[in-house]
Structure formats: C-alpha cells, structure tokens
Amino acid sequence: MGVTTAINPVEPLLRTDRMPHIWCPGCGIGTTVNCFARALGRSKLPLDKVAVVSGIGCTGRVAGYLQFDSFHTTHGRAIPFATGLKLANPEMSVVVYSGDGDLIAIGGNHFIHAARRNVDIKVICVNNFIYGMTGGQVAPTTPLGASATTAPYGAFEQPFNLPFLAESSGAVYVARWTVYHVQHIAHSMAEALRKKGFSFIEILAPCPTLYQRRNKLGDSLDAMRYYKERSVIKNGASTRDLDLGFQEEIIVGKFVDSERPTLQQTMDQRYREVLKDRYNGWRQP
C-alpha cells in the first residue's frame, strides 16, 4: 500500500498551521481557493505584493487561510477597506475575497461605488445563494422559489444578477463560473490579477449543509452534476441576460474585458492637469 507524500502545489500559499479549515465537507469555497492559488502561480505576481481582504461569512474566512498579507474585516466592508489599502500602497495587488451576502447585501453600496470609481482591486465573490455562516438565511442572490430559514415558503424577492450589476456599475472585467469550471476559474483569476481596474468574478458554489439540503438538491456531487449539465459557456454574452433561476440554466463565461482609467489614474491625471508642478503625488510611506 503506497502513501503519496508529494506536496500539494498550492500548499506554500496556504497557512497550513491553520488547517483544518472551518468549511463543511462538500463546500465549494475551498475549490475556489485552490483555483486562486493556481492563478497566482500563473500570474507571476510577486507574492509579497499580494494582499487579500475578506469580509464576514464562510467565504470571509478565506483571507485567514491564505499565506499573504491578509485582512479579515467587518461584514460588508471589505471593499472600502481594500480601497484605502490600495490607495495608500498602490504597488500592492489587492484582492477582495468574500461571499454574496457580504459583498452584495450589506456591502452592496460599497460594491457599486468601487466599481464606479474603478478602484484597482479584484473582487472574487463566492455565490452559494444563501447565508452559510449564520445558518441558511435568504440572500439577495437566493433564486425565486428556493427555500431558506428566513424564507421558509420560498424566496419571493427578485435576486440580483451580479455580472449585470457589476458591469452597469463600471467594472472592467466581469466573469462568472461554477466550481465545476476549475480551469476557467483559475484562468479568469489570473486574467483579473493582471488587469488594471475593478475586476469581478462570480463563482457559483454549493452549500451542501444548508442550501442543497434544505432545497432537497442532494449533496455537492449533485450540485456539480447540475453545474455540469445546465451550464452554458457564452463568453461575451450580454450581462442583461444572466439572471439565475432555481435549478435553471446557468450562463457562464467572461462577459466584460474592457479598458477604463483606474481611480488612481484619473486622480493623478486631474491633479496633474490642474495643479501642474504644484502637484505632490503620493509618496510611499
């Protein structure tokens, strides 16, 4: 009986002294972290210059497991924290890694404003359609009809179409994948890491403990089967057409990859134009 002892290639990017992690068996978040580690390897970014910022929730724990300068902030406020971090230290690649409830419900206002400003941060949103950490409450992403502890008769509010929200708010890079699409996720993350500007990647992921079980959708393997069978890759699809229905077709792909000056570029340009040599640009602390 052989025992493999090869080191997992993503291990150097993880805080292995913090394992085991808190995520449930079958949770999709770990898969996305694996993709992220691979993407960083591909991106060739100097790892000391990467900072990861999370909010609160299951995905909010990602920052704590990654071996980078990392910040676990308050609920919904990872984006404005990251905005301050990036403006104060522009040489850092700043990644916000959080969940749908954190980024889009309590943090929704920050999300649209950061996209509008085109802050040069990468936002990775693991969307499991539900509040996991608090035990399965309805989210602004819960599909119509799906059950949650605070929507016991099924969700009756129209959920957000996140890629559409991101694009219409000003994001320059928008993609959506499911955790079935591991190669695509890693590729999109690597692209976003190289891109200047507000980049957004939505990753649909199973929450077997709460969403799957409560909605009688089986386990995570069933979720993967659903993602595999009902996902359609439509790169460049109009983000208007990306609404997600309960167990309906999922359109995935890269939808937006455009160019627009970042917040720092527009700020610098404005000051330089108006103030000329009186402008004293940001000096590294």
């Binding site: 000391d48 301050g84 403006l87």
Partner: protein
C-alpha cells in the same frame, strides 16, 4: 521610539485667522496625516473640504466615500497600507462609524476619528452645537474596549491637540477621538502654526524583526505590539475576531481574556500618562467647575464672575476626556465641597465626576439641551446656590 519632526513642506507655519475646522485639518496635515476619507456632514465638512484641496499639494490622498461606514474603514485599510489616516464626521455619521471604532480597537489600528458635535438625537440640530456624543465616544461600539478622546476649546487647540491625537493613536495603536463641537469648529480666531521643527511626531511602531521572527500581536514595549510593513514579506494576518499573538482567530475564553486584558490594560495602565487637564483658580477652590470643549470657556467666565463675588470657584477642564482624569478629580475632592459639571447635554461626564467624588463632595449638573452655549449668568446662578451650602 525616537520621535521625529514634522515635514516642513506640509506645515503652514505662521499666524492664521481661521476656524476650528480648518485648524483641525492643518493640525492633521502637520501631524503627518496623508490619507483621509470622509462623507459630507454638517457641521464638520470644512475639515475634509480643506483636506481635499491640500492633499495633492502635500503628498496626501483624500477620497470622499459613499457613506461613513466606508469612510471609517477606508482609513483603517489605509493605515495598514502605511498611511497616517483620519476621518471626520458629526452625530449621524458618528453613529455609523461605531462598527469600525471597534475594528480599530480590536486590530490595534492607529486612526483618528474627528467628531464635530451637533445637536441630536437623529438628525437633530445639524448646524448647532452640542456635547452629547461624549459617552458614545466612550462606549458606542459593542464589546469592551478603551479609547482616547481629546476635546479642544479653541481653533488654536484644534491645531495643537490634533498633533497629540495622531501621536497618541500611534503610541498606543488605538482609535483616538477628536471631540470638537459646532461652536469650536466654526469659531474663527487667531491660530499660530509653529515651524515644523517645533512639532514632534511619534512614528509608527514598525517591527525590526525578520518575517520568520515576527509575531503580529506579541506585545512589545508597554504592552503594545509592533506593526509590519505591508508588502515586505511578513505575510501577516489581521482579524476582527479574537486572536492570538500570531493574529490567528482564537475563539475561546482564555484567548479572549489574554487579548482583552492587554487591550484594556494598554490604555488603563497608562491612563495617568494620557490624561491631561487645564486648571484655573483651583488652588483655594471649594467649588470646582468641570467643563470641556466650548463649554469650558463659558464656565471660566462664570468662575471669574463668581470670584468677583468672593465665591471660591475654580475650573477643571479635561483636555483629554477619555481616559478620564480620575486621579486629579479625586485629589480635588479631598478639599472641594462641591463639583459643578457644565456640559451641553443632559448629563454625561457628570456621572464620571459623581462616581469619583460621591464619598466626599456633592456633584451638581448644569445641563444644556444644545443649540447654543450656556449663558455664564445661568452657570453663575448655580454657583451662587451651591455656595450657600458648600
């Protein structure tokens, strides 16, 4: 730590005729603030308006955020990015910022929160003064934590004390409140800004250890851990969860006790050093007035009027309100018969005084609902009444 001098390129040395809000902004810049985030709110807005104009001239960044929640955490992100940062607000915005006061306390992030107080509750009196957020500054966020709060009573002090506010934030790695009020904020007086070589700044406590030796929350000198520079290979973790010396979440009673003992202790054990008062005519005072901010100026006038009537009144003014000057109040209570607390609220600081002196002296409150400062005559009336039995 070796103190450093202010950057002469940022300090507007000279005599100015400006209001407290503008002076507070210049104080922040002189203190080395190079990042501010804010959201417009009366009567504080002039501080960030001035900073927005000055920032690109002094190597600083200003960003107007979408709300006070964002402002109050953007400054914490900036602080970890290496900046000295602050935000400015008034009542309703102050309420929204409480979440990040807690995060700053828990993560030991140096940052200054300026509150130009106005009447409340809720929208209250946007353009008129009050001092009714003093307890919110102390207790507004959830959980146990200690804060430092300064209360200037003139535009000159808005400049001078702002330097201290930033220094204290760095020295103790703690959120520091700058508790102005609308009167001080909008009062225009002469403000003398010294030359940069007269302004001493406490530099950030950065570690000199290597990444492999470094533990982000291991207490250093005076129980205060050192920070690591972002992006230099320390790969440190910061969390608002209860954490151990590695900065890792530690969700148990023992970790909570160890962390909380240190967080509370670093301010409580140094309260005597941080506390600061200004005193007038207290040498022989049987009646001690206690007042802070704009109210201290009116109270001083009342004290002078009382002295003209041979009533032995004096004034104690907490310049640093939190931590409260407990030792000094207790000393005065040994010989004073009565304390009269004058404040623009329905009784906040009076409770601090009362609990300290209850055994040996009476405490009387002269409240004010806000919207205007006290009339000195109204305070004098109370002094006269107290003098009858004190």
């Amino acid at each position: 730590m070796d103190w450093v001098k202010a950057n002469p390129k940022t300090v507007l040395t000279g005599a100015h005729f400006i209001d407290g809000n503008h002076a507070a902004c210049e104080g922040a810049i002189a203190a080395g603030a190079n990042f501010a985030a804010g959201y417009p709110i009366t009567p504080s807005t002039e501080v960030v308006e001035r900073f927005a104009a000055r920032a690109p001239l002094v190597g600083a960044t200003f960003l107007q955020m979408e709300d006070e929640l964002a402002s109050s955490i953007a400054i914490l992100g900036a602080a970890w990015g290496g900046a000295k940062s602050f935000t400015v607000t008034s009542g309703p915005g102050f309420s929204l910022m409480m979440e990040h006061v807690g995060l700053a306390a828990m993560t030991e992030t140096p940052a200054v929160f300026v509150n130009v107080q106005r009447g409340g509750p809720s929208t209250g009196l946007p353009t008129l003064p009050a001092q009714a957020d003093m307890m919110q500054a102390r207790w507004g966020s959830h959980g146990d934590y200690e804060v430092i709060a300064l209360s200037p009573n003139s535009p000159q002090e808005c400049f001078d004390l702002m330097i201290d506010a930033f220094n204290l934030a760095e020295q103790y790695r703690n959120p520091v409140f700058f508790m102005m009020d609308e009167s001080v904020g909008h009062m225009t007086e002469k403000v003398v800004i010294p030359s940069a070589d007269k302004i001493d700044l406490f530099p950030r406590r950065y570690t000199s250890l290597t990444p492999s030796e470094y533990l982000p929350y291991k207490p250093g000198s005076a129980g205060i851990p050192e920070m690591a520079r972002l992006g230099q290979g320390y790969r440190f973790h910061v969390t608002g969860l209860t954490h151990d010396v590695r900065g890792y979440p530690a969700i148990n009673a023992q970790a909570q006790q160890e962390l909380m003992d240190r967080l509370m202790g670093k301010i409580r054990d140094n309260a005597g050093k941080i506390a600061r008062t200004k005193e007038h005519l207290l040498e022989d005072a049987g009646i001690v007035l206690v007042a802070y901010g704009i109210t201290s100026r009116v109270a001083l006038r009342a004290v002078q009027m009382a002295r003209e009537e041979n009533i032995p009144a004096g004034l104690l003014r907490p310049v640093v309100v939190w931590p409260f000057p407990e030792k000094r109040i207790r000393e005065l209570a040994d010989r004073a018969k009565a304390f009269i607390v004058v404040e623009m609220n329905y009784g906040q600081i009076v409770n601090e005084v009362e609990r300290l002196v209850a055994d040996c002296a009476k405490t009387v409150l002269v409240p004010h609902a806000g919207g205007a400062v006290h009339r000195p005559e109204a305070i004098l009336d109370v002094i006269r009444e107290v003098a009858k039995w004190a």
